[in-house]
Symmetry: C2
Subunit: 196 residues, 2 copies
Amino acid sequence: MSDLDDTDRRILELLATDARRPYSDIADDVDLSPPAVSDRVAKLREAGVLRRFTVDLDRARLRDGTQVLVEFAVRPGREAEVQAAVEGEDAVEHVFVTAAGDVVCSARLPVADVSAWVADAVALDAVDDYDVTAVASSSWQPTVGGVDLALACDECGNTVTSEGETATIDGDRHHFCCGSCRSQFVDRYERLDADA
Amino acid sequence: MSDLDDTDRRILELLATDARRPYSDIADDVDLSPPAVSDRVAKLREAGVLRRFTVDLDRARLRDGTQVLVEFAVRPGREAEVQAAVEGEDAVEHVFVTAAGDVVCSARLPVADVSAWVADAVALDAVDDYDVTAVASSSWQPTVGGVDLALACDECGNTVTSEGETATIDGDRHHFCCGSCRSQFVDRYERLDADA
DNA sequence: AATGAAAGGATTAAGCC
DNA sequence: GGCTTAATCCTTTCATT
């Protein structure tokens, strides 16, 4: 699969609304047969666009701790480490890494003592500072949105059209807008792999 | 249903991992029959705990605009308005309302001109200021987490035990820890309704 | 990508504790 | 009220074109 068409987009929209919707329902909507929908869904998963089928829980209705936003001022070069650390925490729901390298996460903590949790979750010498804000309410919109859905080249970020190419590395499929982006990416991977 | 037990918690966990998992699979895991699982899922949906089955998309693989975090310093009393405004925007994925009344949202914008989007999305006289941060990467964890899952009273926030009560208002089910919380909630609703 | 057959899952109803 | 079993209906998958 090299690009996403309107049908893929529609399938994702329908699944975002109800991930347990029968493929036969979706098939009716997009004028395909159920196996064709199943195929497309499998390809969307392979491509990594569709990460998983999941649930949207109303955590506010659960006694699931207090929700807080924690902003970490991360020391240069330690971003990936802090990101991985907070993503490994059960209490963490969302993680944002800003272009400046700071890490913002939302977490639900059973305790009022956020400091203790932070000290436990991340290496304190990796951050200069952190800031905690209590969250009164939050929501999430699983809509696909009005923006064009098309694959982005894993090398240069440009749109991948039907002339695009793909490569499977370590079981992950990567997409490229052209052959040169593909070889650049694959070469770099092989160099890194050889070093390791 | 008045409280969530370990089985409900496990069912939510399994569905968070894969929302299309067959109920018969889940039934095996929790030692129940498939209809029993189906019943519990239906009740979790009725209770509003399980909002919807949905998908986790890797938007970074899509040309879906640039992701930004926008923090609004909201004028006192206009929080709900700003929250509703950003939630109504297609581009917005997450919305957090802090205890201080500020609104933080993550959005994916097709344009570089975030200011124009903001001016369009919210009434500018409702905010004192806003701050935009570019996001390099983000993730979301649909795990239920290690925290006890139990219903919270919609009136006072305390844990709802099996002695709790429920009320259905406008098709939504509400849960209360005791009869007095229930009547307080229902009375308030009826007063508001009479005023309208 | 469609078709049709076979396998597998969901839901209903009846009955039990 | 919550559970189970059994029967029915629906959905998905696979082989084929």
